[in-house]
Every structure is written in C-alpha cells, then in structure tokens.
Amino acid sequence: MRVVVDFDLCESNAICMGIVPEIFEVRDDDFLYVLNETPDESERSKVEEAVQRCPKQAISIED
C-alpha cells in the first residue's frame, strides 16, 4: 500500500492528521507532510477513512 497525496488539491484541512497522526502531519508552515508513504497493511482501514474524509478528495491509495 502506497499513500499518495495530490498536493495541487490538498488544502491542509488536517482531517487526515486527526485520523492517522502517525502518517499525516500538518506542520507550522501549514503544509501537509506524509510521514510514512508505505504504511503497514494494518493501517489500511485508518488510511481509507482518511481518503473518504478528505474534503478535497486529495488522498488516494495505490496498491
């Protein structure tokens, strides 16, 4: 599983960070950083929730 963020769409709403802070982090510069682009399979349901909840539909999973 590979986490892909379309940074042209991302507006740093930080919803993903609220759901999986281990993977997504919005820093003081207001930009989103993906801390782990290839998380463990056990994180899949959380990452999927972040995909569903992103207001900009900016996150996707590539298998």
Partner: protein, 411 residues
C-alpha cells in the same frame, strides 16, 4: 447476507452515496438503488461557492470519489421521489424508469433546498447556490463582469460567494440582518473578526439591515431583471447580480403523511433510525445528541459522511442481528474565504465564553476556544488547521477548558 434484500437510498449526494458505499462494503448482498432528483453525476458541493465560481472548475472535477469504486450501485438520476408508503415498502416518484421503487430497507438522505427571497423567483440575475446548476448559472452571470454583486446573508455560503467575487475583482456588498456576520454561530467577538475579514477585502458590509425589495426592469424577453436592492434602512444598492444565502429548508414535503415524524427534518432515534428498516442521514436527519443534550440537525459536509455511514451501519446491524451503536460525533466544518480557512469544531452558543489561545485575530491567523463553565464546547481556528485538529480531540473526549489551555500552551 440475503441477496434478495433491496435497499433504496433517496439522495445521491454525500450522505446518500456514503450510506450506499458503507452498505456494500459492509456486506449488503442485494440491490442498492440510489435515487436523486438532480440529474448530474453525484458531486461534491463545497466547490460550488468557490472553485466553480472563481477557478473555472468543470462539473467532472466535482464527481464524488465514491463513484470510482466498484460498488454495484444502481443510480437513478433525475428521479424525484414524491411519496413514501411505509407499509407497502415503496417509494414513488417522477422521472426515468418505473414510478414505483420497492425496498426492504430505506435510507433517506434527500437533504435541503436553498431558501429563496419571496417574490424573486424567475427574476434574472437573482441566484441561490445549492446545486451544480445554481452555481453554473451564477458563474455565467459573473463571467459578464457585473459592476456589483449584492450578497444577501453573511452566513458561510454568502461569505464564500463574496470572497469568490472579490477574487474575480468584482465589487461586492453584503447585506446582513444581524448586527454581525455569523453571530449566532460564533458569537459577537468572533463575528466581529469575520466582519473585519470582509472589510479587509474591500467588501461593502451593510449590517443590521434587511431587504425591503429588489428593483427590477423589464427584459426584451418579457421577463424581469434585477438592477438593485432596496434595503429596510431606506438606502439602496445598485446590483446587476444578487446572490441569496439565507439558509435552507429541508426536503420533507414529500414525506408528509407517510407516518414518519417530521419536525424541521426527519426525527430519528440516537442510531438514526426513523422507522423500522428506515434511517435518515445528512442535512435532513434530526437526532438526539447525548453529547450536547439536545436534538441536533447538522448541515456540515463531514457530518453528512459520518451520518451516511452511521445510517448504513444501523441497517446492517439489523441485517446481521447485531447491537446498533449510537451516532453522536462532534460536528465540524470549514469555510474557505479569501485566503483564509475558518474551521469550527463543536456547537458553541453566543453566550459561551470565548478566548484566543494562539495567534492574533487582527492578523486573521489564530485559534480560539469556547467554554461553558469548565466544559470545552467549541474550537475555532483561522488558518490554524493543525491546532484546531489537536484541540478537537480534547473536545471529542469531553474535555475541559483547562485541558485545552494546557494543550494550547505547548503549541
């Protein structure tokens, strides 16, 4: 699960589509039929007041991502539901296909419609922004570079439309009947900050005044076109375009007499169940929130997804013989205005005590918290998403003002 069990979802917007998705992902084996009066491919609504107006986004850029998944849903678009027979288990309606749609389970997610200014229907240049067609019609008028747009109502839709117009370098007047924008949602102090944000972008803000009537002229086609807005304070504003953002009314008219309990929404229990095998979600669902100690009906984007998912899980629990779980999230929303992102978590009242815990409202970059006694009841941020999300967690855990202050001290 029973592959002959059919679920009908009324409403193919966010709540309905996420309900359908959750049903299928959760093991619903039978038909899932999604009905919607709107004939466009199901779309996301937040960009309608922003990217569609000021960045030229096209309809295909708005398509809900749920549509990319292989969920075997039967979409019937352009089909307007007009009646519900709970005993006979059918929805009737008008549009393509058979007028009667039979169901075993039903999700009602048919949302709300924009309120219109009385007596303005059919007047050229007067708009609401609720559907894709609304937004495209407004965009078409904005492309003609009007001299001034008057926005009636300084709520979130009005504020976002005003910001989009300023981005397009169109002059804007906002008319708001309350003394401050968003005063009922954010309180006076933060309403003042929102007013200042508009003024900083050269918006002519007319507060504490309503609309008396619209000035119109005849058109060559025999209709009428707006040329100005006469305000209740006796002044008037010339306008080639008027955008009305004065709230919504729930789409429950077709459910009158169906046996469901209606009260500015469909009244549900704490699991979003409205009747046996029938749930409601999104703008239309009114449910008892233990967290807030009151009946809630919430019109937020995120709440529509969560509600859609919960309404589906409620039905799945019945199908699987499992214990249903209550639906009681912390409401949350965002609003993009100019280059600012406003986020609010919780449900504060104007009477709650507000304090800024980070940043400076004068710079439109800050975090404020709302307290009711010791209890933390809301978190507001402007261009501070990270901090809002961190404080939202405390809110979700039912935390105190003091806990929020402690957390904020480490920002």
């Amino acid at each position: 699960m029973d592959s002959t069990h059919t679920t009908v979802v009324v409403g193919a917007s966010l709540a309905g589509m996420h309900a359908a998705r959750t049903l299928r992902v959760g093991g619903h084996a039978g038909r899932i039929i999604v009905l919607d009066a709107d004939s466009h491919t199901p779309y996301d609504k937040p960009p309608l007041s922003k990217q569609v107006l000021s960045e030229g986004w096209e309809p295909e850029q708005l398509a809900l991502h749920v549509l990319n998944e292989d969920l075997d849903l039967e979409l019937r678009l352009g089909f307007r539901a007009t009646g519900l027979d709970l005993d006979g288990r059918t929805v009737t309606g008008e549009g393509p296909g058979e007028p009667e749609v039979a169901f075993d389970s039903l999700v009602l997610a048919c949302g709300a419609a924009a309120r219109h200014l009385p007596g303005t229907d059919g007047v050229d240049g007067v708009h609401v922004v609720r559907s894709l067609d609304d937004a495209l019609a407004l965009r078409s008028d904005l492309e003609a570079s009007p001299g001034r747009v008057v926005v009636i109502g300084a709520g979130f839709i009005g504020a976002e439309v005003a910001a989009s117009c300023r981005t397009l370098d169109i002059d804007v007047t906002i008319v708001e009947v309350l003394p401050l924008p968003l005063e009922r949602v954010l309180g006076a102090e933060m309403g003042e900050v929102c007013a200042a944000l508009h003024r900083a972008h050269d918006v002519d803000l007319r507060l504490g005044t309503g609309v008396d009537h619209l000035d119109t002229v005849p058109t060559a086609e025999g209709g009428r076109r707006v040329v100005g807005v006469a305000l209740s304070d006796g002044t008037s504003v010339a306008a080639e375009v008027v955008v009305v953002g004065i709230g919504v009314t729930v789409n429950t008219g077709w459910l009158e007499g169906s046996g469901l309990t209606l009260d500015d929404g469909i009244v549900c229990d704490d699991t979003l169940l409205a009747a046996p095998g029938v749930t409601a979600a999104g703008d239309i669902a009114r449910y008892p929130s233990k967290r807030f100690g009151q009946m809630l009906r919430v019109e937020h984007w995120d709440h529509a997804i969560e509600g859609g998912e919960a309404a589906a899980r409620r039905l799945l629990a019945d199908m699987k013989g499992e214990e249903p779980t209550p639906f009681d999230p912390v409401p949350w929303f965002w609003s993009d205005q100019y280059d600012r992102k406003i986020q609010l978590a919780g449900r504060p009242l104007p009477t709650d005590e507000v304090q800024v815990v980070e940043g400076d409202p004068a710079e439109f970059r800050f975090v404020a918290i709302y307290g009711r006694g010791e209890q933390l009841v809301g978190v507001l941020g402007m261009n501070r998403p990270r901090h809002v999300m961190q404080l939202r967690r405390i809110l979700e855990q039912g935390g105190t003002v003091e806990q929020a202050l402690e957390r904020a001290a480490s920002f």
